[in-house]
Subunit: 417 residues, 2 copies
Amino acid sequence: MTMDYEVLFNQVKKASKSLVGLTDERIDAVLERTADRLEAACADIMAANRRDLEKLSPDDPRYDRLLLDEARISAIAEDTRNVAALDAPSGKVLARRSLRNGLVLEKITVPFGVIGVIYEARPNVTCDVFALCLKSRNACVLKGGSDAEHSNSAIIKIIREVLQEQGINPSAATLLPSSREAASELLRAVEQVDLIIPRGSARLIRYVRENAKVPVIETGAGICHIYFDEFGDEKIAPRIIDNAKTRRVSVCNALDCLLVHAKRIGDLPILCGLLADKNVTIHADDRAYAALEGHYPVRLLKHSTRESYGTEFLSYQMAVRTVDSLDEALEHIDRYSSKHSEAIISDNRENAERFVQEVDAACVYVNAPTSFTDGAQFGLGAEIGISTQKLHARGPMALAELNTYKWVIRGHGQIRE
Amino acid sequence: MTMDYEVLFNQVKKASKSLVGLTDERIDAVLERTADRLEAACADIMAANRRDLEKLSPDDPRYDRLLLDEARISAIAEDTRNVAALDAPSGKVLARRSLRNGLVLEKITVPFGVIGVIYEARPNVTCDVFALCLKSRNACVLKGGSDAEHSNSAIIKIIREVLQEQGINPSAATLLPSSREAASELLRAVEQVDLIIPRGSARLIRYVRENAKVPVIETGAGICHIYFDEFGDEKIAPRIIDNAKTRRVSVCNALDCLLVHAKRIGDLPILCGLLADKNVTIHADDRAYAALEGHYPVRLLKHSTRESYGTEFLSYQMAVRTVDSLDEALEHIDRYSSKHSEAIISDNRENAERFVQEVDAACVYVNAPTSFTDGAQFGLGAEIGISTQKLHARGPMALAELNTYKWVIRGHGQIRE
C-alpha cells in the first residue's frame, strides 16, 4: 500500500493551525506530561530500542548513539521539562508604528507552521525537536534514520497519546516512515511544510540542499580552524587548542585544523602540548612535521595530504598547516571553512580585528576556543541546531529562531493616496 | 567563446570582501556620484534604451515598463540619492552578553556578501538593486531581462566607472548576459553567491525556486483578498476596495478577489460602487452575479470560472465570491493566497482577531486596504522587494533585511568546562 503523503502533510498543516491559539499553560502541561510519561514508559522504550540495537554490532559507532538506558531516557524527559520552563517565542511585538493617518502597524512574531526535521540514528532528537517545535507553536514532521525506527516509534507514540489526552490534534507530531521516499516527499511538500532543518552528517545536509524545494536551514557541518598568529600568546594557546579539539571530538564545534604562523613554528610543540596525552593524531605539513618531530609521539604524527584540509574529523585527529601571513590564514579559512566557528589566538589588536571582520562564519572567536558555540552557552536556552547558512538564523538556533513574523495593520477605513 | 562563470563569480566574491571595511562616507559618495553621472549621461542611456525599445511594439505592455526618458532617469538618480541618505545597516550590535568567565559575546549585523538578483524588463531595477546592495555592503550580480539588455548595460557601465574612479573593485556591481544559461549558472553558484532574490512574474519566481541551489528569498507574487464580513461597515468598504483594486493595478499588493459574507450579499452593489467608473471587470459567482445584475454595468460583469480564483490579475479585473461564514473565507484564503497581503472589513472584534491570527500572510489588514504594503509606507526606507516566504524576511524587505549577523566572541584564554 502506498502512502498518500499529501493527505498526511495536510493533516499536519491543519494541526499546526490549531496550535496558534493555545495558551502557554496548555503547551507547558503537554511538555511536562510527556516528560512524566516517557519516564513511566521507560521499560517499553528500552524494549523498542533493543529491537533497533539488535541490528547493529556493539562495535559500530552508531550503537552508542542509538542506545537508550534509564539514565538517557530521564535526560530526555529532563530536557523536555527544561523547554517547558523557557519563555515562549510567539506573539512578541518586534516593532510598532503609527502612521499620520492613524493606521497602526505591528510586527509580531508568529510560528512558521510546519517544520520538517530530517535526522539520523539519535532517538533523543525525536523528543527534543517535538518539544522545541511545540513550545514555539509549530507542528513537526520527523524523518528519523532507519536504524532508530523502533525507538522513534515508541517515543512518538507516547507524545501522541499525551497530545490526544490533552485535546490537541496528535498530527502536530508526525513521524514519517524511515524510507528514502518519505524524505524525498517531505523535501518537496512546498504547500504544506514551511521549513526543513536537516540534522546530521555533511552527506545528509548535501542531499537535503540538492533536493529540497521547501526552504531549508542547513545545520551542523563544522570544519573549524584556529589560527595561531605571529603575535599569539603561547601560554594561553595549549589549553584553547586542547579544549577546542578534545572537549568532545564528535561535535560540530570541534577543532579540525590548526594554522600556525611560520615565525612561531618553533612554538608548535608547546601549542600541541596537551594533545599527545589524549592520543590526538596530527596531520602536519612539512614545516609543522619538522617542528613536531622529536617532541610529539611519532605514532601520532602523520604527513598531511590534500584530504587533511577541509575535513571534519569528528575524531581524535587534527590537521596542522604552516602559513606565512594572516592573509594566507584568511585564504585557507575562506577556502575550507564550513562557516561554523573560527578562532584566532593573537595579542595584536589589528590582526584580531581583521580576522573578526574578514572571516565569514557564524561564530568568530578571539583568544577563546570554538567549543563555546552552543545555544546554552550563548544564553539562548535549548538549541535545535547550529545554522551554517546566513538566511534567517546563523549559529546556535533556539526557540526564537523557530518563529517568523507577520505585519498586522489596523485601521478604520484609511486609504493610500 | 563560453564564459567562465566560476571565475566571474569569484571576482564578485572578492569584490564583496573589499566592501566590508569601507566607511559610510565612501559608500555614500559612490551613490551620490552615481546619481550625478546618470543624469549627466542621460542622452547615452536614452540612446541605449531606444535600441531595446526598437524590438518591441509600442502596444506591448512591456514597452512602457522599459521606456526611459529624462524624467525617469532623474527619478532613478533621485532614488539613488535617497538610499545614500538612509542609515547603513551593517555593524549594529543586536545583542551583547558577558559570561561569568569573562567571555564577551556580541551578535553583530554583517552583509550577506554576494546577492544575486534576477529580474525582468525594468531597467530602473538595475540601479535600484545596486544602490541597496552597496549601501548594505553587499556586492551584486544582476541578471536582467533580455528586453532591457542595452539599457541595463548603459546603466551598469556608469556604475562601474564610478566604482573604479572611487577606488572600489568594479566587480561589486556585475551584470550577467541576459541569457537563460547565465541565470542557471547564478542559481547554482553555491560557493560564491550567498542569496538570490527573484523580482518579477510568478513564472520567474517558480523557475528560480525549482532550480536554485543558493538560498532564495521569494518576492512579489501577490494574490490578495479582502473579506467583507457579516459585520462589515458598508460605509468604509467601497473606498477600501477601490483603493486596494485600482490605486495601481500592476503592483503585487493590488486586490484580486473580494469575498463577501452571504448575509451581506445585498450590499455588494454598494461595495463595488466605485469600481464601475474605473472599468473594473468583475468575475462573480452566481450569488454575487445575481446581486450585482442591474446595478453594475453588464459589459463589466462576467460569471466566474475556476480560473477566476488564485489568479493575480495585475489589471482592471477582480473576482468576487460569496461565502457563508468566516471559516469559509479563511479556507478560501488558505487555499488561494500567495501569503502577501490579506484584509478583513469587520466591526466584530472577535472575527477580526481570528482573521489576524489565522491568516498566514506577510501582512494582515483590518479595515484598511492591501495597497499599504510597501517599504516606504512601513517606514523601512527603500525596498528591494516584498517577501512572500517566511524565512529571514517577510513582507517589505529593505536595507536591514540585506544583512545577516555574526557572533563575535572575545576572551583571554577561557575554556569550556
